[in-house]
Symmetry: C2
Subunit: 327 residues, 2 copies
């Protein structure tokens, strides 16, 4: 059975094609072809482009019939790609979506600068929407994203970070762009204020669910499906919800052991096996999935105010499919 | 005798105070106070804030009497600071303006992320000017800056880079923001198209002169005055105009020696002494100064179209003072 995401992709196939064209065209730079090489390596590496899809979906929900949604969708994919390039430098990641990262193929310098370039290009594309409202939504989101990432640095190695602190991190680093993608997709259609608010909320909630499921998949997912190394977060000693939950629920002796692992310069595979056992025993992945499902429910609730339509039904389906990645 | 820069600073003292307040206020972030700490460390480290001064000066030149110029000036200082934070990561610099760099006091992560944050904040401030024209000018400039920096990475270690290639680098990495600072300062006043063009040209030319003098001072400057280590560019093996000129004019045996030095992981102080001798013999600093003075002349020529006024005279003085730093 085709998924909601694939049905949306079919329904919006022309828009997606146009968006992809905007994405391609604006990577070309005569003087600096290497920018196109680096950015394309990441952007064409098989990411699902879910954020621009959301923008196009929301514009369609409100029967938008201009072409500015494609600039906007491309801008959002650029912002996302810029953060990925910077993240990979920051985390010293070597693999993303099954391919070597740009910082490995080229250098950290290239990744930082091409990230900056994509970020600038995103703003150039937004200017083409001629909407100050959208510029505000997206520049606010960008600031919140970097704040979220800085909060994440703040809880590094903090096994006793609270779930609330972690929620603040992902509200910033992930939910903000999902939320802005939906909000701006509504704003471009001149939708009403309460509709825009509903879409912002929908985006925020599915973004949160998306990140929680990502955290979970890092410990339970199929490697090929993810394109990342399983246990990636673990080997980077990232504090995510499964870790926070497991640590909180552990016995004193387990806590000691977890602490020791997370203090190692590089935990090894047997550390991972041991930690997976604790996650299992403390039902931490189950807990994480449960939390994600609460956010998915909220995203569906946010749409109640919107008139029923095929697109709305597919948006509900999309929210559920984000959650179902963990099944 | 007071300089033109100090006279402008006096004339614009209220505007500068307001701009500084905007700069301060927008660094505060309740959830992430570390952003304020890091950004303030750089922004309050005694930079001359010449770019925001240019914006305020140009607004004054066209008798602007709103307050949006202060948001704009603050945004420009933020963009500049963001590029400095990223540059210091890229160049692994340890000292700037006489102080330890943020990447040393904190980490590379912090510098990358706070740079991203400042960049986002700059766009938020621009939105407050409510001018799409300005958003276009500044987002175009940002893209050109990163392209210039990427071009610079492209000529790394290329002793035989052409002067034209190097000019493209500095047109991007430095001139673009000087130019945008002046152009946007005019645009906010609703000045006429040919006036805006003249100011863009003025900014571009003084920016170019500024960078050439910076390159020169790195080999001839007083350490305390610069706040950077003398020979900073040399030890980072940066290809700048003095280097390109010296290499081009050198004998085969000198060329061999220069090559050897620039291939070393870390050239030492006696390498620097030897290289300074070649710079002297080949009159490369003299050549660089000459080139800078051509750009200063052009900047003055660009202002011919503007009616004479006290501010215009001070802008000419400022252009000359940028050049005179090398005297």
């Amino acid at each position: 059975m085709p998924t909601s995401i694939s049905k949306l992709s079919d329904l919006l196939s022309e828009k997606i094609r146009d968006t992809n064209q905007v994405i391609e065209e604006n990577l070309n730079s005569k003087e600096t072809p290497i920018i196109g090489d680096i950015a394309s390596h990441l952007i064409n590496s098989g990411g699902k482009r879910i954020r621009p899809l959301l923008t196009l979906t929301v514009s369609k929900l409100f029967d938008y019939n201009g072409n500015k949604d494609t600039f906007l969708a491309a801008a959002i994919e650029y912002i996302h790609s810029a953060t990925l390039l910077h993240d990979d430098v920051i985390d010293r990641s070597e693999k993303r979506r099954g391919l070597k990262t740009a910082n490995i193929i080229w250098t950290n310098k290239h990744s930082v600068l091409v990230g900056d370039f994509l970020f600038s290009r995103a703003f150039q594309l937004m200017v083409r929407t001629q909407s100050l409202k959208i510029m505000k939504t997206l520049s606010d989101a960008s600031a919140i994203i970097s704040q979220g990432e800085i909060l994440q640095v703040g809880i590094e190695k903090k096994l006793d970070a609270s779930k609330e602190d972690y929620l603040k991190v992902i509200k910033g680093k992930t939910s903000a762009l999902f939320s802005a993608a939906c909000q701006a997709g509504a704003e471009i259609t001149e939708a009403r204020k309460y509709h825009i608010d509903a879409l912002r909320e929908y985006g925020d909630c599915i973004g949160t669910s998306f990140q929680l499921i990502d955290d979970l998949l890092d410990y339970s997912g199929n490697e090929n499906k993810m394109g990342k190394n399983k246990g990636n977060d673990f080997f980077e000693k990232k504090i995510t919800l499964p870790v926070i939950h497991a640590y909180e629920k552990s016995s004193e002796s387990e806590k000691k052991f977890i602490k020791k692992i997370f203090q190692k310069p590089t935990p090894n595979h047997s550390d991972l096996s041991y930690f997976l056992e604790i996650l299992e025993k403390r039902k931490s992945l189950f807990f994480t999935k449960n939390q994600a499902s609460i956010w998915t429910e909220r995203s569906v609730t946010a749409l109640q105010i919107i008139e029923n339509s095929e697109i709305k039904a597919l948006m509900i389906g999309l929210a559920e499919e984000i959650l179902d990645r963990a099944s």
